[in-house]
Amino acid sequence: MKWLKGYIECQVCGGSLERFLNMCRHHGIYIWKLQRAEKIHMCMYAKDFVHLVPLCARTSVHPHLVKKKGLPFQIQKMWRNWTFYSGFLFFLTVLMVLSSYLWEITYSGQRSFSRETLSADVEGMDVYPGMKRSRLDCDAIEKRLREIHPEISWVSAEEIGSVLKISIKEGKESVEHEKTGTPCHLTAPYDGTIQDISVSRGTAKVKRGQKVKKGDILISGLIPVTDDSDQITEYMTVAAKGDISILVRQSFSEPVETHYKKKVYTGNSVIQWVFQWQDQRISLKNPFKRLDNSGEYDIITEICADRIIHPLPVSVYAEKKEYRKYKMVDAVYTADELKKEGMRKYQRRMEKLTEEGMELSSHTAVMKQQDVKTWILQGEISFLCRKMSSRAVTEDEARVNRPEPPSKTEE
């Protein structure tokens, strides 16, 4: 309250100080934080300071203003630097206005879809960079994307500041058939043993514990329709659907060469900068460093900027290309390096299976020397496969083979 009204710190000296204090009290001048040293240091409201003049004259004390505090004085101070404060206020206003718009849409997790495809779908929902954030409905975007692309198994639209982040996970290949409604069978992608099978649509062709080969039909897309005498009159075709898990045991054998070609950088490198503004592209390079046509180079490209400046239709692109010269030299793995190389190949094999959605259950591997130059990485991997292949139902399969009626012979 004191700060809002504005107050001052002042010192008074000389004359009769106690009488001065009593007169202040008598005239209703509120004073606080009195400290006595050689002078009396005290605080009072700014408006009361002018009323001290007759009191000081009567008591022969001399007031001395030390500091002004409070909102009225702050406003006065700000008024003197109005250009700075109005600029700051303008900055805050612009920031507030601009942050109420959507400025960027990012996509992640897509494999088969291109960024352009998703971007076109999202723009079709009237969601675009430069729109008001208040009109953004993330749930509706998620729902609509799932409707447009049923093969997307999971989608998330998240609003982070002025950026809309869309993450997707793509589902099974067989969904394509489901989407189009094409009749199809579910087939085994590997040789293995059926661990579990449950049919949602179609006819089961295998049982739990049965061994299957790659390409065998597990759930058929043909549903037989029988008449009263249990004769199949026709086949109803459907897109087979169900949950199946196959236990697959795979043995592998992979050679690991002890002699290999090693890439050695010569230390010569050339850096090239590429800048692009709209369709205009310019490359900058040290003219004294030339690329040797007979040499081999690794090109390392670093994209420094790739942006569309919204709402202007302007795109900016900048990249740094580094050409590193190298030569291939013969090299031999040491025992440790050989072990690491074998382990790397083994890990890569398992990572590949995991990426394909397989559940690893057990795996073993050993390295054996075949000859001086070659070692063999041997092992066995067991995994559960839940992702089945699909094959379209052919017309021949859907046709019912009826016994031909006996033909009448002309006598």
């Binding site: 100080l17 106690e18 204090l21 209703g28 004073i31 606080w32 934080k33």
Partner: protein, 85 residues
């Protein structure tokens, strides 16, 4: 006034204007119903009441509030002395 106050069973400060001193430990003292300040230094605050003089002695004494109703004294208070007039 004293007799009326006693008869009506009122607090003495209402009719008599007795000075009230409230101490909060030895760090703070609140004086009400006083008439004026007689002397003020970092070691002594002397106040004038209606019937008494009040001497507050201590170290680093400051007056936190000085209004028509009360006076709040802060510091290391060592003694409070009441001298009847």
């Amino acid at each position: 006034m004293k007799k009326i106050s006693e008869k009506l069973d009122l607090a003495p400060d209402i009719l008599e204007g007795s000075t009230i001193v409230s101490m909060y430990g030895n760090q703070s003292a609140l004086v009400e119903n006083y008439k004026s300040i007689i002397e003020y230094s970092p070691s002594l605050v002397k106040l004038q009441g209606k019937h008494v003089k009040l001497l507050i002695e201590g170290v680093d004494l400051t007056i936190d509030r000085f209004t028509q109703d009360d006076c709040k004294i802060l510091g290391n208070i060592q003694s409070v002395q009441v001298i009847p007039i």
